[in-house]
Every structure is written in structure tokens, then in C-alpha cells.
Amino acid sequence: MWLFNSSVGRKVVMSVSGIALVLFLLFHMSMNLVAIFSTEGYNMICEFLGANWYALVGTAGLAALVVVHFVYAFMLTIQNRKARGSQRYAVVEKPKNVSWASQNMLVLGIIVILGLGLHLFNFWANMQLPEVLHKLGMHVEDAVMADVANGSGYIAKTFTCPVYAALYTVWLAALWFHLTHGFWSAIQTLGVNNKVWFCRWKAIGNVIVTLIILGFFAVVVAGYFGLGALGTIEVAAPAACCAPCC
């Protein structure tokens, strides 16, 4: 299978899964912005997604994309390190047009996936997961079940905690670096590029990626400072991690 056996094929898998994940981020960011304007509106979206079959299919698809992207990233890195050889250069100077992000995609990717773990713990484990468990007939606390669609509540609860707000900011920054290289690189790997479009794709990528990250960051800021509709939510207890530190 050429998607596994050839170097170009392996990169095609990376770029297609990467672009699909960027499209998902675009959707997720647009959805999050609603929370700044209307907490009820946001909770309606959460209700609409929840543990419905289409949301579950979507989640499974996303999980598969992340796994594929992650596994291939490690496979490619191992092969590339082997191709580089065991003897390293004594002096290395980075040429001007080589971006820092492009040389550190794996490290940035690892930060992104750690952030994803934190994110699943903060939100998914309180929202979709208990609903799925409940549907499967397992026992879930009534208090948890009552809040499975209370996305706004969880946003307010998480981001009022400065530690979480800071961690999410670092996560978003790493994601920005990862995607500024990832976007045009994916297009280049698919071969939809030439001398003229090179600059255009880079600009298009930078705009899309910056908008995505700013959108996500706006919700973190709004949650932390209690701006917009998120300010109307009373946070009863700070999130779990913050109990000892704040």
C-alpha cells in the first residue's frame, strides 16, 4: 500500500489527517465563540451534540484522525532520524527562511496532544463520557448527569482558575506554531503548490490558523475575566486542580 510504503504516501496521510483536524478546529472554535455571547445558546449546542449517534461517529472519526496523525508522526520521525545517520554535525546554522516551527513539529505536536489530554479531562470526561456511560446502563451520579450539557458552566469553572488559563494559553501557542507550518506544508505535500501559490498558501494558512487560535483564546480570556455572557455564571467552587493552589 503506497500510503504506508512510500515516503510521499506517508506524508499524504499526515497532510490529509492534519487538514481534516484543522477543519474540525475551525468548527470547534466557531462553536466556542457562542459561549461569549450566550451561555444558553452554547449549552443548546452541547445538548445537540451530546451522546447522539452523529456526535459519537464524529468523535470516533476525530479520535482515529488524531491516532493516525500521531502514529505516523512517530514513524516518520524515527525513519528520518535513521536517515540522518548516527553522526551529527558539530556546527549547525539555521538558514534564514527555515522556520523554527518546521524543525520542531514533533515537540510541538507532543505539547498539543498533552493539552488535548487535559482538555478531555476538563470537558469531555464531564460531558460526553458520562452521557455515554449512562446510555450503556452504567451508574452515573445524578449531579454529573444534570450538568452533561452545561458547557458554559464548565468553561467558566475551568478558566477562572489561573493555572488552567495559563496551561490552555501555552497549549494554544504551541498549536499556533504547529499549524503555521502544518497548513502550507500539508498543501505542499498534496502537490497543490507552485512558486506563485507558495506565498498565497502561506498567507491563507497564517490567516486561518491565527483566527482559529484567537477565537479559542478569546474564550479563555472571557472565562478568566468573566467577560460577556460567561460573566453571568456564578462559579461555586474552583476547578479541582486549583483547590490546593488558589
Binding site: V8, A83, Y89, E93, T189
Partner: protein, 251 residues
């Protein structure tokens, strides 16, 4: 007239492919600025021979930037700090008095060191032999300009054909990828009607050979393009990807 400079030279010495190498330091005195880098190594080798020491082994041939034989990773750059030039076109006036200049061989699993600064680049010949040619059924001489080719296409094919196969792209790449070389060789034919006939077969064969020889996967860092002495563009890599994906889709 350029000034004379004195500097410290750190050169990688290695007896053979399996031997363990190490840097050796040489003091160079009063080297004229208009000496080329390779001439400077000639001067050093002459001194070493006179002292009954082994001269430094390095590749070179035409010494005018077209044969692709010279290599050398000078101060962190393949072909040294100059852009759009090979090592033989690098002159000592680029360095300052008192500098330390570090000279290493190309380092990549695909290019094993033969001795000192000389590496084995036959992998490129093997990739080229896998498909980097056009088959012609010989017959009567075809008329000139019988197949019209647009000026822009001809220029682009010519730019790709400027690749001298020196291997600086592999040396510069953190992934040891040969994509810039292979893409230039694929592009120079894929762009022209004469090469289009075998385009699918060619791209598949050359990429397969490149992978088989253990070159890495391209991650588009653009280091190859920056260090290429012939300024071959990574738009060729996009073309290679396009040709390869198209060929595989057809199967």
C-alpha cells in the same frame, strides 16, 4: 587586492567508512583572500605532504561550480556560507582574520563517509538510473522546434535541470531527505512533452529507489532550497508529490 588572513581550521579526519573519526586542528597563516576554499585546502595538503603527514581527502573536479563533485559542510552550511555557490566558488575573503572554520563531510546515512571529507554519493546515481532518463526510439533526425514548448515551461524545466546532483540538499536536511534532488530530476522531464510519456513510470521508480536507499521523508523545512548551490526551488517537490499522487491514483 584582498587582504591576507590567518585562521584556525578544524577538519574532520576519518581513516575509512567504519573507522571512528575526529576533528583535527590546523593553523593557517597568511592565506590571500582571493584563494578559493579548495585552493586553501590544497595549500594545507602541500604542507602536510612536506611534513610527511597524510593529506586531507576531499572531492573536487571542475572547480567552476558545474560538476557537482565538491562537497564540504563549512561552518554549518553545505558549500559554506555563500548562497547560490558551490564550495569551489567560495573564496577566503568571506572569512575574517582569526576565525575558526569547521569543515565536516556531508552527514547522512545515504552518503557514508569514504575517507575524511569524501562521501559516497553513488546513491544519487542509482536513483537517476531508476528512471531519470527519456527513452527515444532512434530513427531519422527530428526537425528542430517540431514540438512547440512555451517559454515559461522551458524556463522552469531548465531551472530544474540546473541541479548538479551534489547532495547539498541531503546534507542540509534534518531528515536526510533527497526530495529536492529527485524532484528536480523528475521535474525537468515531467514539464516537457518528451518526458511526459514516461512520467508516471519515472516518478514511481525514482521515489521507490530513493526510499529503498534509506533517504528520509520530506517535512518541508526548506533547508534544502536555502542551501542549494543552484537555487533549485521546492516548487519542484510539490510537482514531484503531484506527479506521484497522480500516478498512484491511476493504478
Amino acid at each position: 587586492m584582498d587582504k591576507n588572513i590567518s585562521f584556525t581550521l578544524k577538519v574532520w579526519r576519518q581513516r575509512g567508512p567504519k573507522a571512528k573519526g575526529a576533528f583535527e586542528t590546523y593553523q593557517m597563516k597568511d592565506i590571500p583572500g582571493d584563494t578559493s576554499f579548495l585552493e586553501m585546502l590544497d595549500i594545507l595538503n602541500e604542507q602536510l605532504v612536506n611534513e610527511n603527514k597524510e593529506p586531507i581527502v576531499f572531492d573536487h573536479d571542475c572547480r567552476e561550480g558545474i560538476c557537482g563533485m565538491c562537497s564540504l559542510y563549512v561552518n554549518g552550511h553545505p558549500h559554506g556560507p555563500a548562497t547560490g555557490a558551490t564550495t569551489c566558488q567560495l573564496y577566503m575573503r568571506r572569512f575574517k582574520d582569526g576565525d575558526t572554520i569547521t569543515v565536516e563531510p556531508w552527514r547522512s546515512a545515504g552518503f557514508p563517509v569514504i575517507r575524511d571529507l569524501m562521501v559516497d554519493r553513488t546513491a544519487f546515481d542509482k536513483i537517476q538510473q531508476a528512471g531519470g532518463y527519456v527513452s527515444i526510439n532512434t530513427g531519422g533526425m527530428p526537425d528542430a522546434n517540431a514540438i512547440p514548448i512555451g517559454k515559461d515551461v522551458a524556463e522552469e524545466a531548465m531551472d530544474a535541470a540546473a541541479c548538479i546532483g551534489c547532495g547539498a540538499c541531503v546534507a542540509a536536511c534534518k531528515n536526510g531527505s533527497a526530495m529536492l534532488f529527485v524532484s528536480a530530476k523528475v521535474s525537468q522531464f515531467a514539464l516537457l512533452p518528451q518526458g511526459k510519456v514516461e512520467a508516471k513510470k519515472r516518478v514511481k521508480a525514482m521515489v521507490a529507489k530513493m526510499d529503498e536507499l534509506g533517504f528520509g521523508n520530506c517535512t518541508n523545512t526548506r533547508a534544502c532550497e536555502a542551501e542549494c548551490p543552484k537555487c533549485v526551488s521546492i516548487s519542484n517537490i510539490a510537482r514531484l508529490n503531484r506527479e506521484f499522487i497522480k500516478a498512484k491514483m491511476k493504478d
